[in-house]
Symmetry: D2
């Protein structure tokens, strides 16, 4: 209802503002008996955290997760997994200058219109810090689905993009560079562009492509909760996302049916995959792939005009340590949200037919 939950069976509910004492969440519906690799969870958090490289924000947040329940002697118990991440670097004083103004293209104005009150410190609930909780839950989802391989990567920054199909990329190289682009030549160009943009006090947008491989056939559902509709919502719920397309995407809208149809092989696989691994809202066993557009970060290190809460036009310049481009740090978030969607649908499929597992 209040929009703090994602999933139905495998369900994450989060809480927390960027400058409260902690953020955290409750992960429900994780089946009992799964061994949790805590290092793997923490490693995903490290991929998202600020300060990890020269091209991201230099804020220091240790982002250490504490699990409070639902895991006993290293295994899930079937009860809700509560966890928190303390906000250790929440220098509230940095934010007093934001109290009485609305930053352009931020959530300040809209939150105040909705709630009549706003935690102005660093974006409050609107801060992308909330996504750390998604990364924790996504890391557990990945452990529930060890066979499924989920790989996201930066496919463009500004006008610089990877000019080859994902099949030619080596996913083992994702962490080899700070941009998280496996096409190393393109990665260098992207990194140069980001450094240049940062120098000018500006920011830049980009896209992330994500590929989920080895997904079982039959995940998703026919009508409102089509697999791609759920993936789309998952991605559009990430801060700064402006668009989502899967398979042929917007290009598919220019094509003819005779070009676009994916013909079958005898084993039910398809010769092409413009469907993006999903037909009628349900996975067909082929690779699921999609692309997500991120706008440039709205906080600039440049002076901009804006208004205060009384409607006076004022000058405003961002302070603090912000990302010149969010896509490198958003890669693990995209993967986490993908894992959450697939874990939920995977569990759903235990009840779509009654297999031979009558009690």
């Amino acid at each position: 209802m209040a929009g703090n939950s994602f999933g139905t069976i495998f369900k994450l509910t989060t809480f927390g503002e960027s400058h409260g004492s902690a953020i955290g969440g409750i992960l429900e519906g994780c089946p009992a008996g799964i061994s949790i690799d805590f290092d793997a969870v923490q490693k995903e958090l490290e991929r998202r955290k600020p300060g990890q490289s020269a091209i991201v924000t230099q804020r220091k947040e240790p982002d250490e997760v504490k699990f409070l329940s639902g895991i006993f002697e290293g295994k899930t118990t079937g009860t809700p997994i509560g966890f928190i991440i303390e906000n250790k670097d929440s220098k509230s004083k940095d934010y007093s200058h934001l109290k009485d103004l609305y930053r352009p293209s931020h959530a300040d104005f809209t939150y105040e219109k909705k709630y009549g009150i706003r935690d102005y410190r660093g974006g409050g609930r609107a801060s992308a810090r909330e996504t750390a909780c998604r990364v924790v839950a996504g890391a557990i989802a990945k452990q529930l689905l060890p066979e499924i391989k989920i790989n996201a990567f930066v496919s463009s920054v500004g006008d610089v993009f990877i000019n080859k199909p994902y099949q030619e990329l080596d996913f083992s190289l994702t962490e080899s560079n700070p941009v998280r682009c496996q096409d190393l030549e393109t990665a260098q160009k992207m990194e140069s562009l980001i450094r240049e943009i940062r120098k000018s006090g500006d920011t830049i947008g980009g896209t992330i492509t994500c590929v989920a491989q080895n997904v079982p056939r039959g995940l998703g559902s026919p009508v409102f909760d089509k697999l791609h509709a759920q993936l789309g919502k998952a991605m559009l719920s990430i801060n700064a996302v402006k668009g989502f397309e899967y398979g042929s995407g917007f290009c598919g809208a220019k094509m003819k049916g005779s070009e676009h149809n994916d013909l079958f092989n005898a084993d039910g696989s398809t010769k092409t995959n413009l469907s993006g691994g999903i037909q009628g809202g349900i996975s067909n066993g082929m690779d699921i792939y999609f692309r997500v557009a991120f706008k440039p970060v709205a906080t600039l290190m440049q002076t901009q005009q804006t208004i205060d809460t009384k409607g006076n036009l004022i000058e405003f310049k961002g302070k603090g340590r912000h990302d010149p481009c969010v896509v490198p740090r958003a890669v693990p978030i995209v993967e986490a949200m993908t894992a959450l969607v697939l874990a939920d649908l995977y569990l759903h499929n235990h009840i779509s037919q009654l297999f031979n597992n009558h009690l």
Copy 2:
């Protein structure tokens, strides 16, 4: 859970296959005391129904809605609004040739993998016929929100597109041509292209743009249920949709922050609207606009290779009366889903703050 519902407070649940005796739905959460204009509901159904013009499928379905409950003496009573639309043209015999094969890029294969059983007559639950129920509910949602203006239109068919901003279009012209494109010159080119495509037994994709105007500030929520995430899911749940972008969309991913930020006017409106009327997941009172990509229809009047349910490669050619291009008929569906999202969020906003309406 099972994916047949949309919305939380203002909530539609649908049922029905294309060739059962009826499709229908239950609309819950409509406040009591709303006067229903039944003609307006039926008119929306007419916009969606087959056979309405020369460029859409020539199937004849009267698509007449019968309301069974929840409305008394012309007004909503606060109880669930049950309704059905009978399937009068369901010639089941037409479909026996589909029983033992999987059509390319259809839901046949994936449904059977999920459920182990499939109503093979005309797509069953996967048929776009289900969207008639959404149009009914959307028409009621529009009546709940008389101040909000929702206008969708065909912005491209194949390579033919409207080359001007939506602000230059006259929305009163939407129904003036069978394509539902207000730029009349472009509309003619689109219509010609569709006729040509149909002649060749092929199909073509397209895009729809939708604009919601006069939306109150404060609709939406901060995290998983951002307004644009809900719109995105709504659109991606429509048959044949491959992508969604709002505001600057995928173009925004190429821009700098200094270009992309929407500066405020003193009254809280913004000088530009790359945000697409939504900031931090919540409406800011500016126009909400977004674009939806539709793939070409998968059923061709051409012979294609496919497989039967035993995995033998066979030849297959579509029969019956299908749309060469879905976007003209999808316009009212896009509008209906937009109305459903906004109606739900509008009701949510009665409880985000406690206004002066204490007990």
Copy 3:
């Protein structure tokens, strides 16, 4: 949200007023591949319908269910099962005398306070006619769970009650008398009492006991959705119910722990069953049994004082054909709601652990 749904995975949503053109529902989450015995469904409806014996209301409602979707060639397809029951005996003219008054201990007054509008014909949405939809869904739930035996019966009418434990009753005798009490001597006394009450234009309350046998271990959940909490809610949602107790119930509140604890046998069964088959909110494999209290029907064939909608005191006497005692007809409803709870929890248990049924 709006309170028209029951269940989470196996989920029924109903609509309909007693005097609209039809009532109906959507049953979601029924796994694909279940063969439906339509006669069994209709037979359950016959048990609930008016006019079935001399001691119930003499209204004539054929109560014939039409399935509109979700079943193909006799089997469930995994898609939602839509159904309607037409209201053939809805003589609206009978009810005009109810338009401007509030009957004592009915829902007239409270509905109008909530909604500001009311379908005054026969109780509208408040009519027990809605429970026919529950009986349809419950009959399908029973078919999903063929091993589980659910038997409800009338355990008291007014002061007349069965003075023996349920273990001494022969459940095959339930339908042998119009009261639905297997203790035949007591049944006769109950029937006499009901006839006498009816003759005086009065009504009388009663209780129903329900026993669910052969329930698998492990159904239910630890905290808010304890098995008995869900059964309690299910029962309290039936019209006229005033109380619910399971196992030792209210008597248990007088006992000592040393008397009340159920000691184990070596196989995990228990020597006594004051727990009522549920421990910690989860089934333990023993019989689940509970008791439900029904108040006397509020519509009397006697003159009572009441008020009109303007607050004037007036005289009022019930018209039409009402039940002098609801419990005989409520037996199939209690069974249906029990089946809905157990079916939902049974499906839940496919995902509480990951068994060997990894995809």
Copy 4:
């Protein structure tokens, strides 16, 4: 889904085992702008906590709540309220003797059957410690509804009961004695009985009655979510509860309609209140009152026979510090759950009609 949430708009989700590092919860849907009285919250926790008097368990748990989010400068912000209560007295070593056995009438056996794994330390998730989170949320619910007065009290312990109507009790005396019974003579008898029972190493059941006054008309809904069905579920979800009745309750099942109907006064109030303030599932403005049965605590300080996890019969005697009777400490829990139900329904009612509060 997983049963850790209560409510729909005003919604609490809890996590935590008795012997993890903390328990906690997320409260969603609390409107923005409510000033929180933290002392009032803590005071409710003190009423529930162990060690507060000589007749309850002597465990020492400080039960101090830490709010982590959703409240800024003393006011709710509309975002989720996350909170934790640390488990400071969790001496895990005390519980190793429970690892390999199933205690009679506990959740040990059923949890292990459901999940295949069990946190055996002090009951894990089945521990009544979880209810502390409900008390926190309930205390906030009470602050949302300052006009509504909710008073619960111990109405019986074993065979000792209050022999007068609640109207004759002075609710200001609830905290005047450790039993929480306002009839002081009866309270003394109850206290003596509990001391005696404790001395014998046994336990005893009891009942709690709860009265909610000044409840607005119109709360609740017609069908599955009747107000009393939601109250019943709320109560039955509390540990050790065996039964629920409201208004006339089980006594009503023995009455005639002519005795049971509540006749109206001209102002819409009723002369009697056997309805318990609820008609047709919706509040009518009269006092809501109900009674809840609690079984005796299953942990005895006596030797009992039980089985180990291999099915061997063994002797078992409870250790540690347990309540001889739960009802005194359950009084604030009953009130909290009542407040949660009413707060949720109160918010629901902002959208049942569209009042004059159009945006």
